[in-house]
């Protein structure tokens, strides 16, 4: 099965890094990178491609933050979690954000920055 990944994060530098890491990990046949959640949502809704196997999602973003993105996504894809593992990726997490995680029980986990090649491969193994 083809493994695909979406990375949504507004940090420009992080984007550069994660692209490199995904390339090096070499577990995902397809990877999409978004600095704007709204754009990602739009692509998911309106492109005919399959749902990605993994979404790495940042929380603190302008215009649409991670939570707003998740809510919108759940509306569009009620069975989202059966095919897509979504991980929250952040450098640290505020108390209020921790509570928020509990509102989305289907999330597959929380990953702390910095990510590494090994971590990405582990995720790749995890999704099979």
């Amino acid at each position: 099965m083809k493994k695909s990944i979406y990375v949504i994060d507004d940090d420009e530098i992080y984007q550069r890094i994660i692209k490199k890491l995904v390339a090096r990990a070499d577990v995902f046949q397809q990877a999409s990178f978004y600095m704007n959640a709204r754009k990602a949502l739009h692509d998911l809704n309106f492109t005919n491609s399959e749902m990605p196997s993994v979404i790495l999602l940042d929380i603190n973003m302008p215009v649409m933050d991670g939570w707003q993105f998740l809510k919108e996504l759940e509306k569009s894809f009620p069975n989202l979690y059966t095919q897509t593992k979504i991980f929250i990726v952040s450098s640290s997490i505020a108390y209020s954000d921790k509570e928020k995680i509990n509102e989305f029980p289907m999330l597959s986990g929380f990953l702390s920055k910095p990510l590494s090649v090994e971590k990405l491969r582990e995720i790749g193994e995890y999704i099979k």
Binding site: R24, P62, Y95, K113, P114
Partner: protein
């Protein structure tokens, strides 16, 4: 003092009346018997006299008889002639005998031979009997011859029979004895004629005796069997015959016997009188005994009194009522005052009394002296020997009877210092509590179960402005805030159920006289059953100030909590921000290490440089934020807002020109606020920059600046017609740190956060109103 009681030998006292009584008895008895004896003697004398009288009469009668016999014999003798013949014997003799009852027979006895006799018949046996020749009888015949006088012989047993007395008259012829003329008197006849039988009656016996001339023995002729007790007899001696007549009482003891009842009576009377005397004498002895016993009792009670006086646990003093000098004082009294009895005895009670108490004491004493009162008691102070004052209660009773002369009185003295002290303490306490109640800031009410206010403390007017309060008219609830009615009902119910237990901390609002609500902390105590209270005690403490402080505190607490939360969030956000840089760095460095291509490696260095700049920017922002929150002594000064606005517009003039923005100012010249100048600069720049930056691309930006007053506070309103912000979505997040809402790359989410913090630090507030595509308005309220 030793008081001994003389105890008399009671036996003497008892014996004396007995002796006297007995002596009296004896004396009376003696006297009685003496009288009786005299009486007895008189009786005996009387009897003797009677007997003598009887004897006299008998003697006279016998003498008469004998005289008649003599005359008869003489008459016959005269008939005898010289020759010794008697011619007319038969004539004379019957005359003599028959006419003379005393004579029973008459004889002519010449030469001692009985020759003639009359009455012959009865006496013929005597004829020719020669009496001189009969030796048994001749003695008396011879005696008559010798004496030449008539002599009565006998009583003799006559030859012819019978017992008779023979009177023989010797007849001499020519001085020669011729013979006798004899007269016979029958013995019975003689006794008859003597009248003895009649005289003696049944009272006396009599006896007739004669000394026998031959035997010389006394012979008795009456055949009566009576002992002749001569001690009771009276005798009559008849010389003519040598007879003796005895008279003897029939009952010689009769006199004695008749006196026996009298004797008995005397005995009884003496006994009675003796007894009476004994008793009479005993009475004084008894009385004396009684007196002595009572004296003993008196001495005893005196001793008791003495003992009580000396040993009493209460002070006692006897005081001269006129002079006031203490006469006696007991031990307790001495101890009370610390003086010895000798010292006390020289003192006037007035000297040891407190001068302030004297006038009352003196008045009472005068009343006592005038017998207007019979006792009095008084609480007063006495001065001890050491100068200390003690409170005593004295009870004074006079020792004189009403109407008697004033003498002395007894004063009972009780130390009541402790009680007075306690009482004084109580009064002090009462005063203290009263002043506490009256001066306290608490309203204290006593309300009975009918809502009558029985007491209210002066603080009522002070705190509630009510001059008086009447729950009965309006009801308690009238004065209570409607929201607190349920609470009050609940607490009143609780107070009813728990008498005596204060129901505390009833926090409610009550209405004052000016119709303003104020907060009170009420305590309700059910003392309906407690005497002198009989109501609910209500304490109302005005806690409006406290309540306000509390509410402020709550506000502050909320504020602090809010701030704390914010700070916590801030810390996370900051850490997140910093960590994002550090994680980027570490990732870049890792990539750099494993990268072989030099070109790639160079790009990583460039990237690292970028991260470094970002980090620097973050730290700069952070420094600014922290400085606002930590710089507490930042100075505020009076600032003219319009001036600062002009300065800020001046700074931004280039951007305004570029954007072709229109600025509208409506700021009063007198708009002066207390603010830090640098903050004011920063705040204005931030708002104006935002207004310019987020201007609507299709519109000419219009920025309005307006100043006005709202409830004494200056308001600065900055309104733009920019792109606006969806507050429904982002809400209060607009002022959050690192919150960005646009896709602009230069938005860091720091400006508004800092602005809000600066305004808050100066005591102001800021509010946002915004609609997407319409515009945004910030309202700053200055303190």
């Amino acid at each position: 003092m030793a008081h001994t009681i003389e105890n008399p030998t009671s036996s003497n006292a008892k014996r004396r009346p007995l002796l006297i009584g007995f002596l009296a008895f004896l004396l009376l008895l003696l006297a009685g018997f003496f009288m009786l004896w005299q009486r007895y003697q008189i009786l005996l004398d009387d009897r003797q006299s009677e007997m003598s009288a009887i004897i006299d009469v008998a003697e006279q009668n016998i003498d008469q008889s004998l005289k008649y016999s003599y005359s008869a014999a003489l008459s016959l003798a005269l008939q005898i002639d010289e020759d010794g013949d008697i011619e007319n014997f038969d004539e004379v003799a019957p005359q003599l005998v028959d006419n003379n009852p005393n004579i029973d027979a008459i004889q002519i006895v010449p030469g001692g031979v009985i020759t003639k006799v009359y009455p012959l018949e009865e006496n013929k046996d005597a004829l020719n009997y020669n009496i001189l020749k009969d030796s048994t009888r001749n003695g008396e015949a011879f005696k008559a011859i010798e004496r030449k006088q008539m002599f009565f012989a006998g009583p003799l047993e006559l030859k012819q029979g019978g017992l008779a007395i023979v009177g023989r008259l010797p007849v001499f012829k020519k001085n020669e004895f011729w013979g006798f003329v004899a007269v016979l008197i029958e013995f019975d006849n003689l006794i008859d004629q003597s009248g003895l039988e009649e005289l003696a009656g049944d009272q006396y016996h009599f006896q007739f005796s004669k000394i026998n001339p031959l035997t010389k023995k006394e012979e008795f002729f009456l055949k009566k069997d009576h002992k002749l007790d001569k001690s009771y007899s009276e005798e009559l001696v008849l010389p003519d015959g040598g007879w003796k007549i005895y008279i003897i009482p029939v009952d010689p003891q009769k006199a004695f016997y008749t006196l026996i009842p009298v004797a008995i009576m005397i005995l009884v009377i003496s006994g009675a009188i003796g007894w009476i005397i004994y008793n009479t004498l005993k009475q004084p002895a008894k009385l004396q005994q009684l007196v002595k016993e009572q004296a003993g009792e008196l001495a005893k009670s005196e001793l008791h009194f003495r003992t009580i006086f000396n040993q009493a646990a209460i002070g006692m003093a006897r005081v001269d009522s006129k002079s006031g000098m203490i006469l006696e004082a007991n031990k307790k009294f001495q101890d009370l005052l610390g003086y010895s009895e000798e010292e006390l005895k020289q003192k006037d009670y007035k000297v040891i009394s407190h001068p302030d108490d004297l006038s009352e004491n003196t008045q009472l004493m005068q009343k006592l002296s005038r017998d207007e009162i019979r006792e009095y008691s008084l609480e007063k102070r006495l001065q001890r020997s050491d100068g200390r004052l003690i409170w005593v209660r004295i009870n004074v009773s006079p020792l004189w009877e009403v109407g008697e002369e004033v003498s002395s009185h007894i004063a009972l003295v009780e130390d009541i210092s402790a009680r007075i002290l306690v009482k004084q303490k109580l009064i002090d306490n009462e005063n203290r509590f009263r002043s506490l109640v009256e001066n306290s800031n608490e309203i204290i009410l006593i309300v009975d179960d009918l809502n009558n206010v029985k007491y209210y403390s002066p603080s009522l007017a002070k705190i509630s402005k009510y001059e008086e309060i009447d729950f009965a008219a309006n009801g308690v609830l009238y004065y209570t805030h409607p929201d607190d009615h349920d609470l009050l009902r609940l607490k009143v119910e609780k107070a009813y159920q728990n008498p005596g237990t204060p129901i505390t901390d009833i926090i409610l609002r009550v209405k004052n006289a000016e119709n303003n609500w104020f907060w009170v902390n009420a305590t309700l105590t059910n003392m309906l059953k407690v005497d002198n209270v009989n109501g609910f005690v209500v304490n109302l403490r005005d806690i409006t100030g406290k309540k306000e402080a509390e509410m402020n505190l709550v506000k502050s607490y909320e504020l602090v909590m809010e701030q704390n939360k914010r700070l916590l969030n801030f810390a996370y956000i900051v850490s997140h921000n910093l960590r994002s840089h550090s994680s980027n760095m570490s990732s870049i460095l890792e990539l750099y290490d494993t990268e072989e291509s030099q070109e790639e490696k160079d790009s990583y260095v460039k990237l690292l440089n970028k991260v470094s700049r970002n980090l620097d920017q973050s730290l700069h922002d952070l420094n600014e934020v922290v400085s606002i929150n930590t710089n507490l002594d930042i100075k505020a000064e009076v600032i003219n807002v319009a001036e600062f606005v002009d300065q800020a517009l001046d700074v931004l003039s280039l951007q305004i020109k570029t954007k072709d923005a229109k600025i509208i100012k409506d700021l009063p010249v007198d708009m002066q606020v207390n603010f830090n100048a640098a903050y004011m600069e920063s705040v204005l720049l931030n708002f104006l920059t935002n207004a310019l930056r987020y201007s609507h691309p299709q519109r000419t930006p219009v920025i309005e600046l307006r100043g006005y007053k709202e409830e004494d506070n200056w308001i600065l309103e900055i309104r733009d017609n920019g792109i606006g912000i969806d507050l429904d979505k982002h809400g209060e997040k607009v002022f959050g740190l690192y919150k960005t809402f646009s896709e602009r790359k230069d938005a860091r989410g720091v400006g508004l956060f800092i602005t809000k913090n600066q305004i808050n630090a100066m005591g102001g507030t800021v509010k946002i109103e915004s609609k997407p595509e319409v515009g945004t308005s910030f309202k700053v309220r200055f303190k």
